[in-house]
Amino acid sequence: MNDHAAASGGRPTRERVADCVLAHPRVHVNGLARPLDLAPGHTQDNTRPLARAGRRRREEVSGRTHYFDPDIDPTERRRLALFRRETARDAVVELLDGPARPDDVTEAIGVARSTLEHHLDGLVDAGVVEKRRDSRGRVTLALTDPEATARSLRRIEPSLPDRLLDRFTRLVDALLE
């Protein structure tokens, strides 16, 4: 602890954690540990009081804890958490070109239908994507707010474990299809 403080010009760890969160608007707690050279448990000890003091917001999305600058509104926080997932991001990028049928999206991004449906559950729930049905009940996928989506996508910096987990589920879905 003293070593960390000395390395950063004697500033307390909590202050450095707070600065780091403000510099990176949306970060997973383990992602915070790396640039600060702290153990994840140590980072958590320092982030919880900050969350309580209202300087950053804790959010649970699909079983993971994410930390945000409190200036980011809840809708945006939800979007950013969803876009951490590579497949969700790919699907949304595909829809930036315009509304598309689910089968065309799965073909374009190379995933099983079950993989796409899993990610659509979250995206539709968060209001990022809407399912439009025509008179014959056929579904077309469309972004509800393409501009806001494009802005959120530019803020994403995915981590290696996130990518690995996403590709593993893609593989298993494709094998079990």
Binding site: G63, L165, F168, T169, L176
Partner: protein
């Protein structure tokens, strides 16, 4: 006669230990990935795939136990073939339940 099909610990002590350790670490990483995917999807197929990857860790465990003399060489050999059967069974079950889930969803 059976020396070709099974390298005894001690014959190639270091190489054996390194291979077993690498297998154990790789298996543990895959098991972690499988479990993380299961906790995300919460489906029986994902649980079975994670358990099948866990068999890789069990294989390394059996090999390690045999190296330190906890498991006799014959039991080690037989145990690994039993684990092969377990892994194949888990994957077959994962494929089977994947189909069942889709059938339920379709009806």
């Amino acid at each position: 006669m059976n020396t070709l099909i099974h390298v005894e610990p001690g014959v190639q002590g270091t190489a054996y230990a390194v291979v077993v350790a690498l297998g154990g670490v790789a298996g543990a990483l895959l098991l972690g990935l499988g479990l993380a995917a299961f906790f995300r999807r919460r489906s029986r197929s994902y649980l079975l795939v994670a358990l099948a990857l866990g068999v890789l860790v069990a294989r390394a465990g059996v090999a390690g136990a045999s190296a330190v003399g906890l498991v006799a060489p014959d039991a080690h050999h037989f145990g690994e073939h039993v684990l092969d059967v377990v892994m194949a069974g888990l994957i077959v079950a994962a494929v089977y339940y994947a189909r069942q889930v889709r059938a339920e969803a379709a009806s």
